[in-house]
């Protein structure tokens, strides 16, 4: 599923980033690599999402969030 679909409070694991190299690498540099745990801090259904990754909080635009494929643990 997409990160953008993850409800608030849910913990998921990053599976893949279906994006061009640029975004993929940028996210990787932020620590978003396959296998990383992401906790959905805030998902209002529209607009950006807020996630926890590696003890860091991050905001991802919805478009980007949609490209981040995750699975619930």
């Amino acid at each position: 599923m997409s990160l953008s679909d993850v409800p608030t409070g849910e913990k998921v694991r990053l599976v893949d980033v279906m994006a061009g190299r640029g975004l993929k690498m940028r996210l990787a540099a932020m620590g978003l690599l396959p296998g990383i745990e992401i906790t959905m801090a805030q998902n209002g259904g529209a607009g950006p999402v807020v996630i926890y990754v590696r003890n860091g909080k991050m905001i991802l635009g919805r478009g980007a969030a949609r490209k981040v494929k995750v699975k619930i643990f």
Binding site: A29, L33, T39
Partner: protein, 839 residues
């Protein structure tokens, strides 16, 4: 002085060919000030810090040609003028964005004296990603651990000192908003800038990535495709990452070779993708984060509010203080069980295969012929190399198991669990894998120590590794243990030997670290990768990488050694044998002639010598009369029945019904024969079972005597004689001394050599006869001492060579060789002498 200027899209630079560096054109002057570059994530508080430092003395401009802000400022530290450049905030230095490109270019081309990385302490891991990339650039770095107040409030506790040690970089806690720590930061930065810089910490990418980097790096170096100011290793890495900027620059500078280079790189990338399952750029990022996670695991404590991942949950069990070690021991037990039990059938096949090969080659010569070449091939090479290769399945299985544990990520946990124990003996968890490998073969073990950054730990591990009883010693144990110990003691005895090795290793390591390699144990930094399903391909490749080393050793060193040993045990050959042997030869002949004479009388054969000749098949039976010929035929029949019987019953148990069956058949055959020719039968039987039997025995004994004499005559024998006085206090006689010399070269040859010494044709650890002979001559105590000595004494020559190469000196392998052998000598001496009193 002419200036070589080069235009880049962001400015014009002047080249310093002799320094291989660049300077911005407007700065082409001797610099008298210290330049500090401030890097860091956006929102890490970099700008605040910059403002704190430079106050009003700052200037905002643009980087030439682009709209990115360039901030420069000045301050004074210890009376020196310090220029601060505030680089654009970036999350990484991958040059995907302009800011990143600028930041990176500045660092590479402007060569600031030190880079201060401003790190948000409450978001440590992600912030450290940039730091790691700075380390990769090989520039002096100081980390400003900013926002420590926020971190503390969040329950994040960072052991700054530890983290600093782990990353090998000065870390200064700061609270930029309050101006705390700024002075210390500046002082530290200036200090760093002024001290000569010898390189930062190297990030472990793992063998596969490293190998790819090395190959590309080598390619770049060999063609001279290195951009000025850049480093081949770094360039290679960027190629693999697909760094646009580097690609562009390289293409511009080296257009003619670029396509070929790109192809190479693509091939490497594809290989890595296959092997490790992702784009190399992602893989590098992953490794960097892995390194960071490892360091943070050691230096950062999260209060209970922090969340756990599944890996953490698994780890909670697996690295649990209580469960961790038992789980680990269980896994280790399974690993070794696997190696020994699953490995058994293939071992038998290899054994049979080599046996067949030996017979085949033997068969190429007419039977009974003596040929140096044949001996060399069969006794020397096939026996020697076969003795080694037979253990390949064991070793490969061990390496396979280790590869699975490594690729799945468990090994890092195992190292983590072992780390606590290892600390107690002065090593750390990273030494664990090499030592585990040592149970297969010491050579891959020594090579695996490359992951240990700390020289002292690494050397200690290397020196101690041969005590992990390697696969080569197995044939020795397999030969000796069953010969001297009852079945129920055999397993425990083997286990005892292994344990002694481990205990010795621990003691020795402790001693070395206490006396020789003194100092604090280096902090343990190791990537704690998430658990992941190993790919079959990956595991097999990793298994093979190490197994191959063992095989290569077999093919080269052992082959050479086998040939050499064959030569020194076979030559020089004596021209003639001494008096006592010749006397015995005569006696045996006499006895035989006498008993045949008695028979000749009974048969009324006039000439007993003729009968002797005929029986020895040296003359034709035509001269004999009817009675004589009947006798001969009967003898032939009896021989046939007897040998048939022996062949059938060789493998049978004396109490079994099959055996009784064979006996019955034999007796029936004899009865039939007796009925045919009663008189001749009795005589013939008597001949075969006493006269001929005795003669054969006498001849065999003579063979042994001659072989023993020849052995003493050879080089090996003479060396053995020389060594005997030294070996005797250990309970060894000269027959053992020589194979031990052979064992110095390669442990595996010990058994083959022992066989030669005891003149038992081709000996392997299944040799019933060799075992019997050993049993007769030695006591269990001596047997134990043999194994003990071979366990501890110097490792094989191949290991010696590898240690020399890995430590870059003769000193350590020599120390290891003499040290271990000396230790073996002393220990065996004590055990034997004390044991003698007891037993």
């Amino acid at each position: 002085m002419g200036r070589i200027t080069e235009k880049y899209f962001f400015g014009t630079y002047v080249r310093h060919p002799e320094l291989l560096s660049f300077e911005r054109e407007d700065q082409f002057m001797e610099r008298s000030e210290i330049v500090i570059a401030l890097a860091g994530n956006p929102n890490a508080g970099k700008t605040t810090l910059f403002n704190q430092i430079t106050g009003a003395r700052q200037h905002v401009g643009n980087y030439p040609g682009v709209t990115v802000e360039k901030k420069e400022g000045y301050t004074t530290v210890n009376g020196k003028t310090v220029k601060i450049i505030d680089l654009p905030g970036t999350y990484s230095l991958s040059a995907t964005s302009l800011e990143e490109k600028i930041a990176r270019d500045f660092i590479i081309h402007e060569k600031p004296d030190v880079v201060v990385d401003v790190v948000d302490a409450s978001n440590l891991e992600r912030n450290l990603y940039l730091a790691v990339q700075l380390f990769e650039l090989d520039v002096p770095v100081v980390i400003a651990l900013n926002m420590t107040d926020v971190a503390r409030n969040r329950g994040i506790r960072i052991d700054v000192k530890k983290l600093s040690e782990l990353l090998r970089v000065p870390i200064v806690p700061t609270v930029g908003t309050k101006g705390k720590g700024v002075d210390v930061l500046l002082k530290t930065a200036v200090e760093r800038a002024e001290k000569p810089f010898s390189g930062g910490i190297k990030i472990p990418y793992g063998n596969d990535l490293e190998a790819a980097i090395q190959r590309i790096s080598h390619l770049l170096k060999s063609r001279g495709w290195i951009l000025p100011g850049y480093d081949a290793y770094w360039l290679a890495m960027k190629f693999l990452e697909g760094d646009e900027d580097v690609l562009k620059k390289m293409k511009a500078s080296f257009s003619e070779g670029f396509d070929a280079l790109e192809k190479e790189v693509d091939a490497e990338k594809r290989h890595l993708q296959e092997l490790l399952g992702d784009d190399p750029a992602i893989l590098f990022a992953d490794r960097r984060y892995g390194f960071i996670s490892g360091a943070c695991a050691e230096a950062v404590r999260l209060s209970p509010e922090a969340r756990h991942t599944i890996s953490d949950k698994i780890d909670a069990v697996v690295t649990n203080r209580v469960l961790g070690l038992p789980i680990f021991l269980l896994l280790m037990y399974l690993v070794f069980q696997l190696t020994f039990t699953v490995g058994a059938p293939p071992m038998d096949w290899i054994d049979a295969g080599f046996g067949w090969l030996g017979e085949f080659v033997s068969g190429l010569w007419p039977p009974g012929s003596e040929s140096a070449l044949k001996s060399l091939l069969v006794d020397g090479i096939i026996a020697g190399v076969g003795g080694v290769v037979i253990f390949l399945p064991n070793i490969l299985l061990l390496f396979l198991a280790i590869a699975v544990l490594e690729d799945s990520g468990y090994m890092a946990r195992a190292a983590f669990i072992m780390d606590r124990l290892m600390h107690k003996i002065g090593l750390h968890g990273k030494s664990f894998i090499p030592l585990l490998l040592g149970f297969g073969c010491t050579i891959p073990a020594v090579m695996a120590t490359r992951t240990i950054e700390n020289e002292r730990d690494r050397l200690t591990t290397i020196l101690v590794s041969p005590l992990m009883s390697c696969g080569a010693r197995l044939p020795i144990y397999a030969l000796i243990i069953p010969a001297f110990f009852a079945p129920k003691w055999q397993g425990p005895m083997l286990w005892t030997i292994y344990t002694i090795g481990i205990v010795m290793a621990i003691l020795l390591a402790k001693l070395l670290r206490a006396k020789v390699f003194r100092g604090e144990t280096a902090p343990f930094v190791m990537e704690l990768p998430p658990y992941h399903m190993p790919t079959l391909k990956g595991v097999l490749i990793h298994m093979w990488e190490r197994g191959y080393l063992f095989l290569k050793k077999a093919g080269t060193v052992i082959l050479g050694v086998s040939v050499l040993l064959w030569a020194i045990t076979s030559y020089p050959k004596p021209e003639s044998f001494p008096e006592r042997i010749r006397t015995q030869e005569a006696a045996v002949e006499e006895a035989y002639k006498k008993s045949v004479t008695d028979i000749a009388d009974a048969l009324r054969v006039p000439n007993p010598e003729k009968l002797v000749e005929i029986l020895k098949e040296e003359a034709s039976p035509d001269a004999l009369g009817g009675k004589g010929r009947l006798f001969l035929e009967t003898v032939a029949e009896i021989r046939k029945i007897t040998s048939g019987f022996t062949a059938r019953t060789e493998v049978l148990d004396e109490d079994s019904p099959a055996y009784a069956e064979a006996v019955k058949n034999r007796n029936e055959s004899f009865e039939t024969l007796r009925k045919k020719a009663p008189g001749a039968f009795e005589l013939a039987r008597q001949y075969v079972e006493s006269a001929e039997a005795d003669y054969q025995k006498g001849l065999a004994e003579l063979d042994n005597l001659r072989a023993a004499y020849a052995f003493d005559y050879s080089i090996a024998g003479r060396i053995g004689n020389l060594l005997e006085p030294i070996m005797r206090p250990l309970g060894f006689n000269k027959k053992l001394a020589t194979p031990m010399i052979g064992a110095i070269a390669a442990k595996e040859v010990f058994v083959a050599q022992l066989g030669i010494v005891y003149a038992v044709g081709e000996a392997d650890e299944e040799s019933g006869t060799l075992r019997e002979k050993l049993q007769k001559e030695y006591s269990p105590l001596t047997a134990f001492c043999i194994m003990l000595f071979l366990l501890i004494s110097m490792p094989c020559i191949a290991t010696f060579a590898v240690v020399k190469r890995e430590t870059n000196s003769w000193k350590w392998p020599l120390v290891q060789a003499f040290g271990l052998t000396g230790l073996a000598y002393v220990l065996t001496l004590i055990v034997y002498q004390v044991g003698k009193l007891w037993i």
